[in-house]
Amino acid sequence: MAPDALQGIVRQQTNAARWNGAGWPDFVAALCAAGVEVAESAATRGIFATDAGGTAYGLPHGVVVARSAAQVAGLLQAAQAHRVPVTVRGGGLTTEGESVAYGGVLLDMTGMSRVLAIDADALTVRTEAGIYWHGLAEELRRAGLDYLSAPLNMTSSVGGTLGVGGIDVNSARLGCSADQAISLQVVTPTGEIVECSDSENAELFQRVILGYGQFGVITEATLKIRPYTPLSMHYYYYSTLRSAIEDLQMLDANDASDYSGILTIMDCAVNLLVAFDSSEREAAFKANWEQRLRGHGEFGFALCMAGHYALRPWKAGEALYLLKRKQAVFPEFRRPEFHRDGRMEDRTVVFSRAVWKHWGSRNMVIPDLATSADKFIDAVERGNAVCRKFFPHYTLYCVGIKLRPEHKPHYEMSCVPPDAEGWAYGCEFEPMIEDAVYSRDHFQSFKNAIYDIGVDLGASYYRFGGMMKGYIRRVFGDALVDKHLAMKRRADPAMILNRDVIF
């Protein structure tokens, strides 16, 4: 562990305290009388013992599979009356325990996962919110349609994503998933079923979007969609983070590509990916922007690397790792069955498969920094230095998020940094755990060291809840957090809904 990792951090109890179970039998009896099944077997509860991070553990007293807004409303009314905490879970892809229940009810939203209506003329879809984005894509594709942007992970749900953000490699152009929501059906913490949008119950809409599940359970969503197009992908390779990020931001600022992002093998092989929905956009990029990129093609980069490591034989281990990683990962992005006529048919399938196969592990810590465009290089370089200190191997994933000025109220106290204008940028710092065993303290110190950079820079974080919630007051300040806490208390008098995530 780095000796200075905990500097300046007040050691707070950020792991949620387990709820003591007072009144549970009466609560279950009330639900049973209302026809709601509460699964109490260890086998069922155990499915939800942790989240994708695998470092936060907690068992609910019982599990309810969501079936309808009315059922969820009944559940929340009973939970308010009996003061039983309810933790909502979609895909459970959080890494800080935000979707882990430390007692009380775990409400599994994937039970509500049907597409309700596709309007191909208006280019909208109405769907139940527990649906996985991948499930939504399967249905939309049959109609030649697609969602706009979603996490590059097949098992994230629409409702869970709208509450936290949703970043895709087209977010620099289309914004985050949360910006694609037109209206929502929400069950409030006191059990009212409310439709909300920017024009109807706007205040609720603003709090639920990017609201980390504090102000209601999203049961249905109307989202913007678009015609489906396969995409043509180009990769450029850099040996420094700085030049790759500068080029990424140059492309984004000039609307030069439809997709853009950076994926690295440590800081030695930095891959800028650029992709297009149409041949016209691709041709315009080639004519106007490609020659301005400082990255190399695969062959050119291999030559540079060979020269670099030939002069530094003591770094042979690093060179070998890069080579092995390249051999394992690159074919995954080029599998013929996911391409047709040189175009990638589904980016989420390709990336998600690669992520789970080559980045995933039973423990995943993915601290991140979200900053304004001008602070981003500094944030990434400092975060990179932290990664080097804590882990032999790691990866960085950087992407821009186009902001919508009219959505400023949605962004308050969210992953969108308060000072960002035009674009925000996010970087995830993901150590490769491989077969190593690290203590929770090691992980926690690493996360703290990354999050400290955010405090210093005035940034925000994608994953600021759960075990990292100690940072919320430090980055947003007491006044803003107290304002939201007061709103939460009004909306959720017994403080039962996702109570351990933020406050």
Binding site: G46, A52, D108, T110, A137, T155, E337, D346, S361
Partner: protein, 310 residues
């Protein structure tokens, strides 16, 4: 990175939920218990097999979960193992006794490559004759139907019976109609030349030529998933060549035609001119839900055509 050691067992499940995306029992129940992940997690949390009987019964053993598991857990094998501890239904047990008796005194197998038709194809004598003619190979009188059923229902397989069956097959090229038996034969006869019925028929020019872009082609899920890495290329080529659509999802995992709900899901938003199936059993399912002709692959080519071509 997850471990690549294979096969692994349920303790390795970390709950990524990728198996849910492709699981027909999850699709029909939308309940986390009804998924391979749910079963693995239940076992990790000490559930007795008897508590899981409903879920084990609901699984159609399509094998879709195996190729998508990043932990390389043999999920299909896990479920088949767990089924062994759940008592078989009486009608299944009776069927197995019948198959066993039939297998007790088989005629000598013809020389050379063999078709093991499986119960569904054998039940349709006309179709079986057509398949044999098209493939130009002999038919095994003992096609291991009792073993296939035992695999399906978790029944016991007598080691002596298994040995004599495998001895009879040793060294031959085999076309196997039952996807579950094919899956196991790949383990039991490593290095043998094994093909599923769909792949074997799909390789015949007389059939391949007749697959049209307006067709909806239903890949038999069990055989496909048991050899997914290789077969994904076979079907991708077929899809590109013919322009037909298939029951493969965006991950190139097959949706099984096991019941009307799954068949309806496959056809949702699609208007094919014909449906082509590899499995005779699935032909019946599609006939119930589709208002268009449903043909077995073997019905595409005129009898004798392939031999004349040859």
């Amino acid at each position: 990175m997850y471990s690549t050691a294979h096969p692994r067992d349920y303790p390795a499940c970390s709950g990524c939920s990728l198996c849910r995306l492709v699981c027909p029992m999850w699709r029909s129940h939308r309940d986390p218990r009804f998924s391979p992940e749910g079963l693995a997690k239940a076992r990790q949390n000490g559930a007795a097999v008897t508590e899981l009987a409903d879920v084990l019964d609901a699984c159609v053993l399509c094998g879709a979960c195996d190729p998508v598991c990043p932990e390389n857990i043999d999920l299909g094998g896990m479920i088949m193992d767990l089924r062994r501890d759940v008592p078989a239904r009486p009608e299944q047990a009776a069927l197995q006794t019948g198959y066993r008796k039939a297998a007790a005194a088989p005629d000598a197998a013809p020389a050379g490559a063999l078709l093991l038709p499986g119960a569904a194809l054998r039940a349709d004598a006309g179709l079986l004759a057509r398949v044999l003619e098209l493939l130009g190979i002999g038919c095994a009188t003992d096609d291991g139907a009792d073993i296939a059923l035992a695999l399906e229902i978790g029944g016991a397989i007598d080691p002596g019976r298994r040995r004599s069956f495998l001895d009879m097959l040793g060294g031959r090229t085999l076309v196997v109609g039952d996807g579950l038996l094919l899956r196991e034969l790949r383990h039991w006869l490593p290095g043998a030349r094994l093909q599923g019925l769909g792949e074997a028929l799909g390789n015949l020019g007389a059939i391949r030529r007749r697959i049209a872009s307006a067709d909806f082609y239903v890949v038999e899920a069990r055989a496909y998933h048991a050899d997914h890495e290789r077969l994904v290329a076979h079907y991708d080529a077929l899809r590109k060549e013919s322009g037909c659509s298939m029951n493969l999802d965006l991950q190139r995992i097959a949706i099984p035609g096991c019941d009307e709900a799954e068949a309806s899901w496959m056809l949702k938003g699609r208007r094919p001119a014909r449906i082509l199936v590899e499995s005779p059993a699935e032909r019946e399912v599609f006939r119930c839900v589709a208002g268009v002709p449903v043909l077995h692959l073997a019905e595409l080519a005129a009898p004798n055509e392939e031999m004349h071509n040859a």
